[in-house]
Amino acid sequence: MKTPKHPISEKEVSHLAELARLELSGKDVTEMRLHLNKILDYFKMIDEVDTEGISPTYHVFDLVNVLRDDTPHSPESKDLLENVPKKKGRYIKAPRMI
């Protein structure tokens, strides 16, 4: 049921789950839809602020052009790889994708 009060449909929840590679049961989908809609309703409060004529803020500081020189550091792969839960040799294992 798509009403202004419940902007996210069950179909959209299923689609989101698929994009996030999550398996949801029919019961999960109904429940997630309720949760997501509650969150969205809560965020709707932001809509009450009048932003007419105000340009978007992408960053809270006025900093621009923070740049670094193109000088390589020795890589730190040893420590990083120790934190990887699943490996095959030096490869990082991930689930199949299709």
Partner: protein, 478 residues
């Protein structure tokens, strides 16, 4: 049917790594990842560990500005980066840092163009600076592999994306366009095309105003023309059977050399683009852009004009030479060593390509110095060798890497110039071929047979115009 709808329309989305950078786009991990063991050139930023922060590479910004400027783009004075969100292990933070031209995003540059040889303008809609994702390998194929193996060495390498409007009208247009683009990038010294995977391309193609098909996974510029030719033939053959082409994404299989239908799960809105607030905006002042333009290396178009002025090359020859930076540099070295730079141009732009095509190699892999071409050009221009002998020397030089002068001495290929020797040869040929002489007296076309015999006898060491004159003289007194 209007001529517009008969046309083939092709648009390209080109990804080029900025291979001259020493580090990745947003971190100090070294960029020399090729041949390295998997997951060697990585750091918390490029594998996206929590709390790590990206910082833009200054040279990447300089190089991208050079590229945008040389491709006639309008460079944005204020730009931001965006996150493109998706769940796929090639980016462990589940998004790619890129730029976007919608939802408040600003790309690096807009409205560029490249001119084809016939003057047609190929419009470039936009250019973006973004990070390359990781490389994924499989056990067997993508379909059969039970798990995937990720190597983050490539993750975070600086890429520029250039998107054309659908202004290309044939697969050969696409080849010409990519040749021009790569020559420009190589002249800027930002890209080494020879590095595996340094350029990739997606293409879209529609036939007679039909639906647009996108081809993904074209892994080199050379493959683009092939993939487009396949797809064009497929669409034409569907049309001839009265089947309409469906709008879809197809995958280029460079082993089987076919395109295969590919269902993509994500749609544009699924990427949930939003600003990457871990990076601050970038502003490029006019002074900065002017400085970049001032320091810009010579571009192919300027070089083409200089080649005509400095080395007396024809415009056609100059155009062929600058198509490839290696060839252009090579020809310039040879031309500087020669008293006949124009001959050098002809040897390299006209005579060399068919030879390379035949043996399936490139100039880089031949063991022939530019000085060899200079020497041969000098011998030709001084009249020491005939065109025909020059060809023999040329082929021998390319095959063996020997100096032209040595081949010349060994083979005795000097031009026979004294008229007494030539007369003796003509007399001999007349004596050996009495029937042909009779025919030639009646039919002037038969003279060619006698000339051919003379050339054979002398291995082409006689000037054909002198030989013709002598044969005609001799026939008239028969």
């Amino acid at each position: 049917m209007s001529s517009e709808s008969k046309k083939i329309k092709i648009g390209l989305e080109v990804h080029c790594q900025l291979t001259s950078l020493k580090t990745k786009l947003f971190c100090n991990s070294p960029s020399d990842y090729r041949e390295k063991p998997p997951n060697t050139n990585i750091c918390p930023v490029c594998i996206g560990t929590p709390g790590s922060l990206p910082v833009l590479n200054r040279n990447a910004l300089n190089y991208a500005t050079m590229v945008a400027s040389s491709l006639n783009f309008e460079i944005m004075s204020h730009m931001i980066f965006f996150r493109k969100n998706y769940f796929y292990p090639d980016m462990s933070k589940n998004f790619q840092i890129t730029q976007y031209d919608r939802a408040g995003g600003v790309p690096f540059a807009i409205n560029g163009y490249i001119l084809l040889n016939d003057g047609r303008k190929i419009r470039l809609g936009r250019m973006q600076l973004e990070e390359d994702p990781a490389k994924i390998s499989y056990d067997g194929t993508i379909e059969s592999s039970s798990e995937t193996y990720v190597d983050y060495n490539r993750a975070g390498i600086a890429l520029i994306e250039i998107v054309t409007e659908p202004d290309l009208e044939s697969p050969s247009d696409a080849r010409e366009f990519l040749n021009k683009l790569s020559s420009i990038l190589e002249h800027l010294n930002v890209l080494d095309l020879g590095l595996e995977g340094s350029v990739r391309c997606d293409a879209n193609i529609s036939h007679r105003g039909g639906k647009r098909v996108e081809i993904k996974n074209i892994s080199s510029f050379k493959e683009v023309e092939r993939a487009l030719n396949f797809e064009m033939t497929r669409q034409k053959s569907l049309a001839s059977k009265g089947i309409s082409v469906s709008q879809e994404t197809r995958h280029w299989d460079d082993v089987r050399r076919i395109t295969i239908s590919l269902r993509l799960k994500e749609e544009e809105q699924d990427y949930r683009y939003f600003p990457e607030t871990d990076l601050v905006p970038v502003t490029l002042s006019e002074t900065f852009i002017e400085k970049i333009n001032h320091d810009m290396p010579e571009l192919p178009k300027e070089r083409e004009i200089r080649f005509q002025q400095e080395y007396n090359h024809s415009s056609e020859i100059a155009r062929v030479l600058v198509k490839d930076k290696y060839l252009a540099d090579y020809s310039e070295k040879a031309a500087k060593e020669s008293i006949a730079p124009r001959e050098v141009g002809i040897l390299l732009a006209v005579n060399l390509p068919p030879f390379l095509n035949e043996i399936g190699k490139d100039l880089k892999s031949l063991d022939v110095a530019p000085e060899h071409f200079a020497e041969l050009a000098d011998m030709i221009s001084k009249g020491e060798v005939s065109r025909r002998s020059a060809k023999t020397i040329f082929l021998e030089m390319l095959k063996t890497g020997q100096k032209p002068r040595n081949i010349f001495d060994k083979k005795g290929l000097d031009v026979i110039s004294d008229s007494k020797s030539i007369e003796d040869i003509v007399t001999k040929i007349f004596k050996d071929n009495p029937e042909a002489v009779k025919d030639a007296a009646k039919d002037t076309k038969a003279i060619n047979f006698l000339l051919g015999k003379i050339m054979q006898e002398t291995q082409g060491r006689v000037d054909p115009s002198i030989a013709t004159k002598l044969v005609k003289q001799k026939l008239s007194v028969q």
